[in-house]
């Protein structure tokens, strides 16, 4: 699948932003006044910034309001509703902390659940796609939620939880890669049953239907980035999980804010690479018709 920058930015930053809102909603931490303002500002910039970035890949963003209507069947619609609900509830909860110094505990919990709900509904947009076997698996939502909670714990300063979640998210990522590499073959889709000609003999794409490219090839048969897979996997592991883990251990000893900042930056770099791979490596079955992956 084509790794559109707008969607990678959305997935990375909204994931971390809603993860931070999750911890703020639970009350870990529950600062008041200016400190609360800074925490909420960071969370909203990331979550809302990501959402806005995601509208850049729409053909008609001016009609985006219509996307809230089909929650009965569409995960994208559910995600939109969940995001608006989470942002409104957390804004009220945040205003309580910032301006009135009061903690609306129950509202915070609801906001926390909705914030993770956004991450879950986002992940289901991918996990529902039978056409992309790498995504069509329970581990897609698990990976998204792990990444979001790890990022949220890191940003909210919950060092012990962050240490644990970095290990879990790193392990989940490794599992996702190892099993994901086999899923296309396991899906049972191949050129033989895509064309229905497998009964006659072995099928080979002989001549494509068009000499130039087209929407399908650009969107689904993204083969360019796959040659650097191993390098990018190492980058995501080292920057996304290993370096932040070590830095956090040092933060725990020294309480250094600078080191914590480096841990956050390193994590974001690693997750950007990971999200890029999530798309670049995902193979759509339509590629079969073109003899491509």
């Amino acid at each position: 699948m084509h790794p559109a920058p707008s969607v990678i930015i959305f997935n990375t930053f909204s994931g971390i932003g809603f993860g931070l809102l999750f911890f703020l909603g639970l009350g870990f931490p529950a600062p008041t006044g200016w400190v609360a303002f800074v925490f909420f500002a960071i969370a909203y910039i990331m979550a809302v910034g990501g959402l806005i970035a995601s509208t850049f890949h729409l053909g008609h963003p001016e009609r985006a309001i219509k996307a809230f209507s089909q929650w009965r069947t569409s995960w994208l619609s559910r995600e939109g509703i969940c995001a608006v609900a989470a942002l409104i509830i957390m804004a009220i909860y945040g205003a309580g902390l910032v301006f009135f110094g009061t903690k609306l505990t129950i509202l915070g919990w609801v906001g926390a659940v909705l914030s993770l709900g956004v991450v879950y509904t986002t992940s289901m947009i991918y996990a529902q796609m039978k056409t992309v076997p790498r995504w069509k698996h329970w581990s897609t939502p698990a990976l998204f939620i792990d990444l979001s909670v790890a990022g949220g714990a890191l940003l909210s300063g919950n060092i012990v939880i962050a240490l644990i979640m970095l290990v879990i998210a790193g392990g989940m990522t490794a599992y996702y890669w190892a099993t994901g590499d086999k899923r296309f073959a396991e899906s049972g889709s191949n050129l033989a049953n895509a064309t229905g000609l497998g009964g006659i003999g072995s099928v080979r794409a002989f001549e494509p239907p068009h000499t130039g490219s087209n929407y399908l090839l650009k969107e689904f048969a993204f083969e360019v980035g796959r040659k650097h897979v191993q390098k990018l996997r190492i980058i995501s592991m080292v920057f996304g999980f290993a370096i932040p883990f070590v830095l956090l251990l040092m933060v725990q000893a020294s309480a250094s804010h600078i080191l914590a900042l480096f841990a956050v930056i390193s994590h974001i770099v690693g997750v950007l690479a990971l999200r890029w791979l999530f798309f670049a490596q995902a193979e759509h079955v339509v590629g079969l018709y073109y003899g491509k992956r």
């Binding site: 008609h60 996307a67 209507s69 056409t131 064309t195 229905g196 003999g201």
Partner: protein, 253 residues
């Protein structure tokens, strides 16, 4: 509404005969010709006269080589457009309700006024039947020429999809696949019509007819055995030439 309607009794669709399709692409051209100036936004082209030209098409013809265990390879031309699936995953993913499946005849359509161009429906389609138009930024797909098949302003014989009307080989058939007695259903039953990617669970309405088995030509020439080439080993002048050429540098041994 993106909730799929209960399966309709009437299921309009195409039956494509892979045995007779000659890969002329006439259906591709007539489809583009009709659909660029009728239903919805036109089908744009980008840099049409350059080496990197491309555009939106609702029907495309692939060509495959199939190599049987024995005998010669076969070349099979393979037209592909929306299969108007009964369990259309492209419809249920749509967040706006722009994509829908018609209750009355099962045709899958896009209401372009509602489409935000998110592309999710194209992601959900296993067959590559949907293309986002690069100029209009809305999703385009085969409408089964919904504006021809019911169009009383057209002469009776033109009330079928443009591709079917145009196919010079008679490789494309249009009709009601929900009715077991219709011509198209009979054809599918007779020729063993099949679904593309059945494991995707989309239950396509369109069916494909397999290429008929190739005949093996029997030996009918009674004189042939007497006309077999006689000399296998060259003698005399030819033999000398053969040896001399083989001995030269680069000669085959």
């Amino acid at each position: 509404m993106t909730t799929l309607p209960p399966p309709s009794a009437k299921k309009l669709g195409l039956v494509i005969d892979l045995d007779t399709c000659v890969g002329c692409h006439a259906c591709v051209v007539s489809c583009k010709g009709w659909n660029t100036e009728n239903y919805g936004a036109p089908l744009s082209d980008q840099n049409a006269y350059s080496a990197a030209g491309q555009g939106t098409f609702l029907n495309r013809v692939h060509s495959y080589e199939v190599q049987p265990d024995q005998g010669a390879a076969q070349l099979i031309h393979f037209p592909k457009s929306c299969l108007h699936c009964e369990d259309a995953p492209c419809v249920t993913v749509c967040p706006t309700g722009a994509s829908y499946k018609r209750q009355e005849d099962g045709i899958v359509l896009v209401n372009e006024q509602d489409c935000i161009g998110c592309g999710l429906c194209a992601w959900a389609c296993p067959y590559g039947a949907r293309e986002l138009d690069a100029a209009e930024c809305v999703m385009k797909k085969c409408t089964l020429c919904v504006d021809r098949i019911y169009n009383e302003n057209l002469p009776e014989e033109d009330r079928q999809p443009a591709c079917v009307r145009t196919c010079p080989a008679g490789a494309r058939h249009f009709g009601d696949l929900g009715d077991p007695d219709s011509d198209v259903s009979q054809l599918v039953a007779e020729r063993g019509g099949f679904d593309l990617m059945p494991e995707q669970g989309t239950k396509p309405v369109n069916k494909y007819l397999p290429p008929r088995p190739k005949d093996v030509e029997p030996e009918i020439d009674i004189l042939a055995p007497y006309l077999e080439p006689v000399a296998q080993d060259a003698k005399g002048l030819m033999g000398w030439l053969d040896k001399a050429l083989t001995a030269m540098p680069g000669g085959s041994k």
